[in-house]
Symmetry: C2
Subunit: 687 residues, 2 copies
Amino acid sequence: MSLQALLNPSSVAIFGASQNPKKVGGRPIRFMLEQGFKGDIYPINPGREVVQGLTCYPDLASVPTVPDVAIVAVGQDLVLGTIRDCADRGVKACIVMASGFGETGEAGRAAQAEMLEVARAAGMRIVGPNSQGLANFNNGAILNFSTMFVEIPPETGPIACISQSGGMSVVPYHMLRQRGLGIGHCHATGNDADVTVGELAAEVVADPSVKLCLIYLEKLQDPTHLARAAKIARERGVPIIALKSGRSPDGQRAAQSHTGAIASEDRIVDAFFERHGIWRAEGTEALVEAAEIYLQGWAAGGRRVAVVSNSGATCVLSADAIERYGLELAVFSSETEAAVRDVLPDFAASRNPIDITAALLTDSGLLGKVLPHAGGDDGVDMIIIGIPVSGEGYDVDSFARDTAAFAKKAKKPVVLAAPQDKVRKAFAAYGIPTFETEDAAVRALAQFSNHRSLMQKAAGGDIVVMTPGKAGETLDENRSLDRIAQRGVAVANREICKDVAQALAFLEVAPNGIVLKANSSLVPHKSEHGLVRVGLNTADQVESNFRAIQDKLADMNVPFEGILAAEMVPSGHEMVVGGYLDPVFGPVVVVGEGGIAVEAMPDNRLLLTPFDENDVASALSKLRIGPLFAGVRGAAPLNTEAVFAAARGVAELLTEGSVQSVDINPLITTPQGAIAADALVEQRTPI
Amino acid sequence: MSLQALLNPSSVAIFGASQNPKKVGGRPIRFMLEQGFKGDIYPINPGREVVQGLTCYPDLASVPTVPDVAIVAVGQDLVLGTIRDCADRGVKACIVMASGFGETGEAGRAAQAEMLEVARAAGMRIVGPNSQGLANFNNGAILNFSTMFVEIPPETGPIACISQSGGMSVVPYHMLRQRGLGIGHCHATGNDADVTVGELAAEVVADPSVKLCLIYLEKLQDPTHLARAAKIARERGVPIIALKSGRSPDGQRAAQSHTGAIASEDRIVDAFFERHGIWRAEGTEALVEAAEIYLQGWAAGGRRVAVVSNSGATCVLSADAIERYGLELAVFSSETEAAVRDVLPDFAASRNPIDITAALLTDSGLLGKVLPHAGGDDGVDMIIIGIPVSGEGYDVDSFARDTAAFAKKAKKPVVLAAPQDKVRKAFAAYGIPTFETEDAAVRALAQFSNHRSLMQKAAGGDIVVMTPGKAGETLDENRSLDRIAQRGVAVANREICKDVAQALAFLEVAPNGIVLKANSSLVPHKSEHGLVRVGLNTADQVESNFRAIQDKLADMNVPFEGILAAEMVPSGHEMVVGGYLDPVFGPVVVVGEGGIAVEAMPDNRLLLTPFDENDVASALSKLRIGPLFAGVRGAAPLNTEAVFAAARGVAELLTEGSVQSVDINPLITTPQGAIAADALVEQRTPI
């Protein structure tokens, strides 16, 4: 069912309707009346005949038509009965405000499950429980009890805030309304028992009035819907910024397994957002900071910034910030420099950043004269105007007017950095995004530029949904190597040797010498127990080391299952390629530096499936050791294709469903190729 | 001379005095009159008899007493004559406001030098040129023409802002005054031709009214004075926060040499600030963000934070931010948890972070009841109160009053995070530092905690001032190794071999084999030319490789100066230890990962001299490969003492003055020791 009934209801019933507009059951009615909701409002309260001037009904049965939506603002103990009434009458969706369900203990979870069962049987949708409610300011459908809409009055506009938390739905509402921006949607979904933030977002970003979507999540259990929302948003050019806080229990569980410790759940979220073009905000500030820039409809451009200021310090600080946040200080063409030099007095700087100096005081027109040259240069993608000090004599209104005239023509991001309120207000009045400091201005431009480029590159794609399974047997090294070899991963020639004679025969066909290892899934850290002997070239060495491993196993009371003899692999860089099945996101593959670095000095990246060689190349290039894959000091680059082949093999094993996790470490990588020198495969069994 | 005359003048003359209080020569008079300056003010202007109600003098000779300070607010062409007059009359210090001196071209630099010569001959001090002036709001000595003191009126207080840039002296002034904080000093020194920011800071931080000192620098040419300022500040417990922008020409020069490219000038500044307990702000925001916390006089504590909020989302976001900014979420004792559980309703969380929930609405006293338990726990060093949403029914004033009462007793940092102005104002009225978001609150607490700990650990010490010198001859490998060996750095046994016979004889006494290398300072990248042959064990190998190197040198037209034979060094981790003489900061030593990592994947730290083994251990521990010096997966740790010995040797060579730069790469480091396998020493000659 589409969620349109929740966003554009033709009629709304309120269980627990209150005459008091300051109560949970009173506020939605007050808001709908204030905000001009055109549909029917049916207060339900057996104790009253009129509520806030509206006819009040004793129960749902008495309501003259079937309401699209019911707001359930009754106590926890009355919720289930109310849900049943709604289901019976054919209500399309309920918003359950009471808490005390899935977010509490066992009993709460059971009650939540029962509520869902009733609703699903009737094809009725549930928002919540524990929901503050939905608010669509475009049509006055304020099915929401937040006090924040009293604190700072609504004004509709192009921004949507969608949040699991009530608080974090109205914090961005407040911060943005404070800045004079309009909010069209402000929804808090609560426990996401049925309707999730992702599903709601898919509906909201399709609303033609929405131009920017802010999301707050504490758990991301529904990536399929969110991926769909992101796809719709990308098609409409609507940026989604998500603040995902905390770590889920699933993530904690995953972190306990070996590969999981590398691939923490939070990094899967990063990878998921990146893949779908969603910008991940680090905190509340980053969620709202760049809003004005997004709303201008500026096209995605490059990362080269021009700076114009009346202060040399602002020029230097802006250049520092541009480097710090990963943008580039634009280099002007010689024509631009000449034109700027022509306009400015001799002592001013005509190169980027442009210090107009206090000459702006004597000639207020200087900014307007410089901007078309500096900002118009083809090598400039974005422009920062810095006015750290303005006082007597500065014609700020004319600066702002000239800037706006330029911005209108240039169609490039132009922003102001100024600590003084009055300067910011003057520019904001002409529609220019303003920031208190050059740090904030550069940070916001960097986010905008990075996010636009992320949206352009976003591969999207569906989440791989796995049938349920659980971790099974861990295979020994030999069988593990077999499994990955079957998937096209290169492994060393090897043989399980039952006795010394067999090992000696293997040595005969291994010109580079051999390694002997105990082959047992019972001993995970073989090296630390002296169960790995490398670089054996002579019969004597093979014999004595074979016996030493046998003795050691006997000491440890580990049954002898043969010793794995393998050809020595030519030296190379130790990489790791691994992966596991995440219960929410499906197959997750890890590529990075291997060997001892894995735990103590981790340097690896996550990949969600499906991925191609470009994705692996991109992940490798972002590693600290990324330069090795480009070639360092004339050395040939390490072989990306071979690492990709290993990663693809791991992804295939995971996707087919019979493997829970894979760990190839080390994958000895050279310019010529990559050979797995050790592997560990954990099976998976269906449940 | 002390700079007291500049900060507490008994009389001030103003050259270029203006009747118009909006002009550069008028504003200082206006400000001194408005701010109740008690000393004598002598306007000097041949065209007027009275200026702003004060007797005006035609020239300095007519002024009745010798003024302590002269403000030189005349045009650039008149400055030198004015300075001569002041020097002749015995004025103690001049503030030169005109620009067009050292910051411009050759002529300006010459004029600046001449001005200085005149002043120095007379023992007179110069602030500027190109200075906006000094302003001491404690006594009304506003020798400053900033319009910002009109925009937002001064109010004296415990904060000092000292800046080279005029703009960046009043930007923090504005941002802090806007927040209601008092500024006692606001100085802009301009070109720092004579009096530098560092020297002025040493005077200002000794002022008993100063409790926080903010500095803005574009060049740091005077570390000795700034080190002295930092020492005085540490003794008085006054934090210094410095925003150092840009990179100096010296730094650019240094970056061009090989070791210099590792040790960029900017990182020396980092090391210098760290050593002297100065916090380096990344940008304008960080310069001012934590001011209110610093001013509370809270003692340096630990890094464990408790969070109390009426919103679960704020709890999660705060915990995220605490991790992000490197603080710790405090763990309550079981007594604390029990006490909190006792106070709060069942559904609230009694563990840290504490979610009081909307129960705060029904019982406004809950915050006051929880705080003494949560905040009083011995495992809690700092407390964040998060109130993201407050509206009808919330008794914010009582929250603020209870918080202030707790803070007074607890003597621990307690701050508020709240996006709503009215909530922040209520807490600020009780003296609690407030922030708009939990990000900002945590960031500020982290800065405070880190800075206090930096101040406690700061070693301080004098800058090593070197006699002038310039880079000289680069020694060949053998002589380079000799030089470092003389300073106690372990090097491999080696011998310059004139012919194959000598090399074969050397092989006899080298049981692990030898390496042969061309020994010439004319070929810097020996490996890339095939001039290094390692792992030679047999006479055949030695002979053929010796001849191969000889042939290659002949091909390259490099004169044969013998071939360096060295014993093979046991394998270990490749480190780099190097250093160079910085023209401002003296000897700078670099320790880090060596080999190919040096350029492509740099991982190294700078050390200013003198340093001890603890400093080296600390630098090594901060490397990415730091874990190797602690021991990884049961392996013995790499030998810190041996790396220290090499670093000490390099520091000694640099400090004695005959060496410009040293590069030991690789320093093969094992658990047992470290052996230099290659070195390059660049001599230095006096000038």
